[in-house]
Structures are given as C-alpha cells and as structure tokens.
C-alpha cells in the first residue's frame, strides 16, 4: 500500500534522495538569513551547501546498483493523505546522471559566475533552484513532480530578471508565461490521470509507479492525457514551434543562469517526455511518434540554420541548444533501446558541453563587454589556452568522435535508423550544420590578427581554468569511455521499451550495435 511510509535506501544509512532535495533548500534559507555585513560567509554557506549536495550525488552514484532497471534509494511517506498524495522519491538509470550532473553543475556555477550585485539574493535563488531541479528529477509522485517543476520557475525568473542583461525583464516574463501555459495543461492532465486511475486501482492515486503498474487507460483517454503532459514538456524542451522563449531567456540570463538553464533545466522537458510521456502512456506516445519525430527534426534543422545566422555569440549557442535537444527527442521517439539510451546520454552531454560553452561565452563577455561576433577577432593569438578550452568544448558540441557529443548523437542516429529512417537522413544533415555554424563562429572569433580592442584580451585565469576543468574532463572521459554510463542507463531504458512492447504489441528492432560497446559500431 502506497500510503505507508517505506524507506529503501539500498546500502545507504539515510534517505539520501530526500537529503539531496532538502539540503539545498535549507542552504537557500540559511543564505538568505545570513548577515549582510559578511558577504564572504554568505558565499561560503552557499558553496559548502552545493558542494555537499554534489558530493552526496556522487556518493549515490557510487552506491547505485548497475544493471538494475527499477528505482533505487526510494523513500515514501504520506503527505496530503486525504488527496492520496505522497512524498515518493527514487532514482533509476534515466534520472541518475541528471541528478549527478545537477550536483556537479551548481557548485561550479557558484564558483565560476559572478553576479556583480546583490550576491546574497542571487545565491539564495540559485540554491532554491537546485532544490527544485533535484526534486523534479527525483519525484515519483505526479503531484510532487508538478510542484517541483513549477517551483523551478520562480528562482529562474528572478535570476534572469534580476541579474540578466538589457532585455532581461521581457525575457524573464516570456520564460515564465510560456512555461506556465504548458503547466496549466499538465496540471489538469495530472489530476485527471490520478482520478481515472481509481477505476483500476480502487483509489485515487498520484503515485507514478502505482499508476504505471496498475492503471490502464483507454486509448483515446490516454492520448488526451499524454498530450496534456506533452505540451508542458514540449515548451520546456523546447520543441519547435514552442521554442521562441529559449533564445531570449538564454541571451538575457546571467552566465550562471544560462549554464543551469542549458545544463539541467531544459532536460526537465526531455526527461519528462520519457518518464511521464512514454513510460506512463506508451500507447499514446507510440501513436503520436511521427508528430514528435517531425517536430524534433524541424527543430534540429531550424535551430542549426538560425544559429548560423546569429550575430550574438550567446544567441548562437542558444539556437544550437534547440538543435541538440531535437536529437534527444528524436532518440526518445524512435523507440529503440539504442536511440533512447543515446537520448538519455545526450541529455548529459548537452548539459556538459553547452553549459561549458555558456561559461566560456560569459568569460568573453566579462572581458570584452560584448558578445557580438563581429566585435571579436583573433583571440587565439592573445589567449591561446582560452582558445584551446573553447575548441575542445566546441568540438564536443559538434559531436566529434572521441568526445562525449559523438557518443550520444551517434547512438541516437544509428538507433533511429531502423524505425525512423527518413527522419534520420534529414537529422544527420543537422550534424553537418552544427560543424558549419560552430566552426565558422570559432573562425571569426579566434582566428586572424587581433585588432586593438581584442589585443588586450586576458588569458584564462587559474580560477576560471579550475571551473572549466571538470567540464573538459567529463567531455573527454564520456567520449572515450562511455561504458560505465551506458551500463547504468541501459536497463532502465530497456524496461521502458519492454513496457511499450507489452502495452501496444509494438516490436522494437534488434539492436544494430550493442549499446554498451559505444562508438565501436
């Protein structure tokens, strides 16, 4: 019975997932009430909280049982019992690395990005955001998930609006309202799902696991519900044509906000599509797959073409996100184990490489107070180490073999080929376009002789280098040796696919390559 409290922490002595959510939340409050006169203590509190959270995330990763598809470290308690809503958190192969990435990204953002003013409030919002993101990835209760999914908006709104650039209020408001429209549909969908589950379960239930295991929805009902969820996630991903908030939000957000937005927030959409779309409503997801494949491919091409035309370096990276996330959606709706696993892997890769790109663009802005490509020239001459770092990150974003971007994109493309051949053909051109716009941008910014304004461009500082180091380390490690990651992702993805097969009679094609062997295929 779901309403009874249960704790299954695996080998760990305490509810680690609950701690992952509550520690940043507590840190946020502590930061807010810390003394105004000692800003360094405020920063220390924030940093320690986020580092501690990140360390817990890594500990969880180390204790995670490889090869198991189900949820681990679950903890379940009653919360609003008259509405059958519980605190139910758990982690599986799909959310595992997103949680770890969140844990790693936030301390780096706190160290690496300077808000310039009102640091205390900035840090409080950042930590609240971390709690919200953690909660969204860990929730196994529809109500709880919605709660975190929505609460994330508030800190992000204030981060963009308070510490962003010239058009920040417009961008923040657009971001808030777009996402909220999607959520409006999802809330009705969640409530309806919970109420309809009563027919099969005998009681109203918001519990994801219970609903997925026990409830059967009629095909037409399931499709309506699926679309109610999918609209919210499509806005969040963002999927063409709902993507227009993203370039504004990214460009106007402060560097830290952009890194988090690209690194983990957008993944709420793709993660949601997989967990609450495909997993909860397999029939509807399979039925509507062509819509999503098409939108994903349009997004890939559209994002790439738009990125090519951008004058602003940050806007270019923002549009490249639209393209990259198209690959994740393509993989998710290809319904093969490799493509889906590649999609999950690509969520992490995109978070790492685009997060790092935004950091680097932020550093350029700090030095030159402009992000216009036309204003930048010849930086390679004056700052070779900076240029090298940018090069590695950019190549990862393009998807060059040996770096992480390749593994995910390759798996998505090869996995989708069996089930969505023509979409893949078009999407593959997106890879070429990515090389085009990124290399061209690199060429314009870093090559040539620096003019007067660019000749004083400062080389990478030690602190900046230390912040970038984990990113580059992850880019190379995941590119060369993706096996540990894939081993943990694969069972959960396969479980979803098996569920799709059971519920719909769909037969997934035999794997073209063994996913655990990565790029060898």
């Amino acid at each position: 019975m779901s309403l009874l409290a249960s704790e299954m922490h695996g080998s760990l002595p305490f509810p680690i997932l609950t701690a992952l959510i509550l520690i940043p939340a507590a840190g946020s409050i502590l930061t807010l009430i810390s003394s105004n006169r000692r800003p360094e203590i405020t920063k220390l509190i924030a940093l320690l909280t986020s580092v501690f959270t990140g360390a817990l995330g890594l500990w969880m990763l180390a204790s995670f049982k490889t090869g198991e598809a189900g949820y681990q470290f679950t903890s379940q308690h009653q919360w609003i019992s008259s509405w059958h809503i519980g605190w139910h958190v758990g982690v599986d192969g799909i959310s595992l690395f997103l949680v770890v990435l969140t844990g790693i990204l936030f301390p780096l953002v706190i160290v690496g990005c300077d808000p310039h003013h009102d640091e205390k409030r900035y840090l409080a919002w950042i930590l609240l955001l971390e709690a919200g993101v953690m909660g969204s990835f860990l929730s196994l209760d529809l109500f709880l998930f919605f709660l975190f999914f929505e609460i994330v908006l508030v800190p992000m709104y204030f981060l963009i609006g308070g510490w962003g650039y010239d058009q920040r209020i417009y961008a923040a408001t657009k971001f808030f309202l777009y996402t909220m429209v999607g959520s409006a549909f999802m809330l009705v969908g969640i409530v309806t799902t919970a109420l309809l589950a009563k027919k099969d379960l005998g009681h109203v239930s918001f519990d994801l696991v219970e609903i997925a295991e026990g409830a059967n929805f009629a095909a037409s009902t399931g499709r309506w519900l699926f679309f109610a969820f999918a609209i919210a996630f499509a806005v969040k991903v963002p999927l063409f044509p709902l993507h227009t908030w993203l370039p504004d939000a990214h460009t106007q957000a402060p560097t830290g906000g952009s890194v988090i937005l690209a690194g983990v927030l957008l993944k709420l959409g793709t993660y949601g599509l997989l967990r609450f779309g495909v997993y909860l409503f397999p029939e509807a997801a399979l039925w509507s797959r062509q819509i999503f494949l098409t939108l994903a491919v349009i997004g890939i091409i559209w994002g790439a073409v738009a990125a090519t035309m951008q004058k602003d370096l940050k806007r270019l990276v923002a549009y490249s996100s639209v393209a990259h996330l198209g690959f994740i959606v393509l993989g998710t709706f290809a319904f093969t184990a490799e493509a889906m696993g590649g999609g999950v892997m690509q969520m992490i890769n995109h978070g790492v490489s685009t997060g790092a790109l935004f950091l680097l663009v932020g550093m350029i802005y700090e030095r030159r107070h402009t992000r216009l490509i036309s204003e930048l020239k010849g930086l390679q001459k004056v700052a070779p180490i900076f240029a090298a770092a940018f090069m590695v990150v950019m190549l990862s974003s393009i998807g060059v073999p040996g770096l992480n971007g390749f593994v995910g994109e390759f798996l998505v493309l090869i996995g989708s080929f069996a089930t969505a051949r023509w979409w893949v053909v078009v999407a593959a051109t997106g890879v070429i376009l990515a090389a085009l716009y990124l290399l061209w941008a690199y060429q314009r910014v870093f090559h040539g002789e620096p003019d007067e304004a660019n000749s004083t461009f400062r080389e990478l500082r030690l602190r900046e280098g230390l912040v970038l180091l984990p990113f580059i380390g992850l880019i190379i490690f995941c590119g060369v040796y993706p096996k540990p990651m894939l081993d943990r992702i694969e069972p959960s993805v396969k479980a979803i696919l098996v569920r799709v097969e059971e519920k719909t009679g769909y037969v997934a094609p035999e794997p073209v390559v063994l996913t655990t062997e990565g790029e060898e295929g």
């Binding site: 008259s82 709660l147 609006g161 309202l177 549909f185």
Partner: protein, 501 residues
C-alpha cells in the same frame, strides 16, 4: 380573528454565542465612543481584535461540539449550526481580527476618527455570520443587508477623499439593485414552493414534479437569486462596481470587502445551491458554468491592463471568484463531494491572502491613500526587503505557485472539476490563470527588478508599524504553512460537507 398567542421559538443560546459576543462588543464600543471624548484609537482596535479572538475561540469549541453532537438547525429552523457554518464563522472572525489590526495604523496615518469604523466592521461581520448560518431566505436577506449597509458606509469612510465617497455611493446604488433582485427572487421562489426555508425549499423541490412549462416562476426566482448573489460575489457580468469600489474605498476596508464580503456571499450561494436547489441543478449549473468562465477570463485579461494596483487586485479578485464558481459548478453534478469543500477552502485561503496583500498595498500607498499606482512599489525590494518578500509570497500564491496556499486552493477546484469531467472549464481556468500571472509578475517586477526613477528618493519612507507587520507576517506564515502542510485545512473543509438539513 380571535386572539392569537404568539409562540416564541426556543433559542439555543450556546450555539449563537459568537454572534452575541460580537453584538455586545459592538454595543459597548458605540456607547463608549459616545460617552468618552478621545480615547486612544488603538484601544478600539485592540478591543475589536479581542472580541474577534473570543468569538474565534468559542467557534473552535462549537466545532468540537458539532463533532460530538452532530449538526442541527436552531431557532425555528432559521439558523444552521453545522461544520459549514463554523468553518465560515472561523474565517470571518479571523478576517475581522486581521483587518482590525491593519486598520489601526491606517486610521492614525490618515488622521481619521476611530470608533465607528470598528463598530461598522463588527456589524458587517455579524451580518456575514448570519448570512453563512441562515437556513431561511428571509434571515439570509437580513444578514445580507446588515453586511451590505455597513460596507456601504465603510467604503465611504475616508471623509476627505472624493474617491472614497464615490466608491460608497456606487456600491450603495448598485448594491441596492442587487438586493432588490435577490428579494424578488425569494418572493418568486416562495410563490412556487410555499416556503422561504432553505432546507424546506430543497425538500419541496425534490418531491414536487412540475408540469413542463409550469415552473417558469421558479426558474425566474432561481435566476434572480443567482443574479443577486453573483453581484455580491462580483462575478462577470455583475462585476462592474468592483474596480471602482475597491480602488476608492480605504485600503483596509477593501481587504475587508474582499475577504469577509466574499466569504459571506459565497457561503450563502453555496448553501442555497447545495441545500435548496440540488434537484434543479440541471437548470442553474449551465448559468454558473458561464459565469465562472467569463469571470476567470475577463477578470484576468482586464487585470493585466490596469496600472493601479488596487484596481488590478479588484480584477484579480473577480478572476478568483471565477475559480470559486468552478467549485460551485461541481456541486451541480449529482453525487459530488468535492465542490463544496474546494470552494470553502478556496475562500479561506483567498481571504487570508487578500488581507495580507492589501495590508502591504495600504503601507505602500503612503499618507493620503492615493499612491496605489504600480510605480509606488518601485524599489520596495531595496527599501523594505522583508515587506517585499511577503508581498512576493502573496502574489505567487495568487498566481497559484506550488508550496503556497494558492496552489492548494486552485488544485482543489481543478480536482473537483476533473472529478465531474468538466475538463473544459478546468483548462480554460488554468490558462486564464496564466494571463493573471502576468499581473502578479508586473507587481513583482516593480518591487524587485525596476530601476529607480528620479523623484523616488523624495517619496515618503514606508513605515511598517507593529500591527500591520504582524498581519503581513501572520498571513505570509499561513500562506506558506497551508502550502506545505495543507492536510488539516482539507480535512476541515471536507467536514463541512455535512450540511444541516
């Protein structure tokens, strides 16, 4: 006619103790005010708060008595004493206490004389309590008038502001019309059922079969009744008075109207539709459906284009009234058990929210009560971060953000609608609430994100006196508490489902 002896109904004095406490307190207030010359005004505020708290405590005991002894109807079937009544009474007494506290400082700032305002508050609260408890249309009307007449005077109580006078007059004229509609509705229903007793009407209508076309009088009566009450709860298209009255009335009075006034009118509407008219649900439910949709959409859209915060909040209150109407629409589906608790809970949550919000607005408008333009909020985050933070909590709650009470309220009505398969209304309301969110964002932008403009430093500094600070902190605490731990409120509102019939 022969000599008739009048029989007096036996009176359950204990059950109406809260009414007696407030009535006695009001009398004493008025006598003291007449006899003594210039008592410190704060005394009247403290006295009113004490009365309200005393009533509140008695109501808590009565709640437990009803747990034990069950609901009952007293005084010749005119007053229902059930959990529904007590839920509303607790809300009204709590709102009375909070509003009195926030008024104390307002009156000092505006140099207005004190005692009669408090007497009018108590009088209005009495009317509201009678309305929520009444099981007879005539008693309901008496309560409505007691509430309304006190509110007309309160709206006009800022004697040096023309807007306040105008507000009072508008409210009076339009309110008078609404009362007339309401009364005519009672008459027509009496004509077709032969009784004014609410549960009596319910039992007549459930047994009597009308020949087709023969129920025109009844339907007209129901329609007029709904019009009268729809005016009082301010739903579109009966909302035209709201923006002007909310803007012109002294800000604490506005918060009183938006909390106690709405509470009473909605409670009356709830009791009438749930007790008297369930068998005619097919007739009135479509009307409520239209009113709900119109209110959420029109309220939200018009709120966004305002520049005056009090006007914005007036339109937002229309939109919230639309949300509560969704709960009432649910009651119209047979076998519904979600609509009534959801609406009641929404009322309780919204009352606290609106008092907190208007208390902040009252502080920010500064002396003269004229600065309710959105520009007055500029820089509040820097000048008074705690106040701005509390306001942010209220605004986020009104926008329906999770972890605040506003989300629980919206969730409740959406759940009620979804239970009855009214998906269209749920989706339209949620999308409209996104439009309304823009309005709350605008105030937040002004508080936190706007740059200073010239002349801002010449503005009067915002003082946060203890009483108003207490109201703001208390309301914010309630808002977050219910957001995080709503079970007790949900259970309490579900207990109110058992109406005394």
């Amino acid at each position: 006619m022969g000599a008739q002896t009048m029989t007096y109904p036996s009176i359950d004095w204990l059950a109406i103790t809260p009414i007696i406490i407030l009535l006695g307190g009001m009398m004493i207030n008025l006598v003291l005010a007449a006899l003594t010359r210039a008592w410190p005004r704060a005394w009247y505020a403290i006295g009113t708060v004490e009365l309200a708290v005393a009533a509140l405590i008695v109501e808590m005991f009565l709640w437990h008595d009803i747990n034990k002894d069950g609901a009952r109807i007293i005084i010749n079937n005119a007053i229902s004493i059930d959990h529904f009544t007590m839920f509303c009474w607790i809300g009204i007494a709590g709102a009375l206490a909070l509003v009195s506290l926030s008024t104390a400082e307002y009156l000092r700032r505006e140099s207005l004389e004190g005692p009669e305002v408090y007497a009018l508050y108590i009088c209005a609260a009495l009317g509201a309590m009678i309305m929520t408890a009444s099981n007879d249309m005539i008693v309901l009307f008496l309560g409505l008038e007691t509430l309304s007449i006190a509110l007309y005077v309160l709206a006009a109580s800022h004697r040096r502001r023309a807007e306040s006078q105008e507000s009072g007059l508008k409210y009076f004229i339009l309110g008078g019309f609404a009362s007339a509609f309401f009364l005519y509705g009672i008459a027509l229903i009496y004509g077709s059922t032969g009784t004014t007793n609410i549960s009596g009407i319910g039992s007549v209508l459930s047994t009597e079969v009308f020949v087709k076309g023969d129920d025109a009088m009844l339907l007209a009566g129901i329609a007029l009744l709904i019009v009268g009450l729809a005016f009082k709860v301010a739903v579109v298209p009966f909302h035209f008075w709201t923006p002007d009255v909310y803007q012109g009335a002294p800000t604490p009075v506005t918060s009183f109207m938006a909390s106690v006034g709405k509470f009473a009118a909605f409670a009356a509407l709830l009791r009438v539709v749930a007790t008297a008219l369930p068998s005619r649900a097919e007739d009135w439910r479509p009307v409520i459906w239209v009113l709900a949709i119109l209110s959420v959409v029109v309220g939200s859209v018009l709120a966004v284009v305002q520049t005056d915060v009090k006007r914005m909040l007036a339109y937002s209150s229309i939109s919230h009234a639309g949300f509560m109407m969704i709960g009432i629409e649910s009651i119209g589906h047979s076998g519904d058990t979600d609509g009534l608790p959801a609406t009641l809970m929404y009322l309780m949550i919204y009352s606290v929210l609106v008092i907190g919000t208007f208390t902040v607005v009252s502080l920010v408008t500064r002396t003269g009560d004229n600065g309710s333009d959105i520009g007055s909020f500029r820089g509040l985050g820097k000048e008074r971060p705690a106040l701005a933070l509390a306001m942010t909590v209220f605004l986020l709650a009104q926008a329906g953000m999770p972890l605040t009470s506003g989300f629980i309220a919206k969730f409740g009505v959406i759940k009620a609608a979804a239970t009855n398969h009214s998906y269209a209304i749920a989706i339209i309301a949620m999308v409209a609430s996104v439009i309304a969110a823009l309005l709350y964002l605008r105030i937040m932008i002004s508080m936190w994100l706007s740059d200073e403009e010239s002349g801002d430093d010449k503005r009067e500094a915002i003082k946060v006196p203890f009483t108003a600070g207490f109201v703001v902190a208390g309301s914010a605490f309630f808002t977050l508490l219910v957001g995080v731990w709503p079970s007790w409120l949900i259970d309490a509102s579900q207990a109110a489902l058992q109406l005394a019939k």
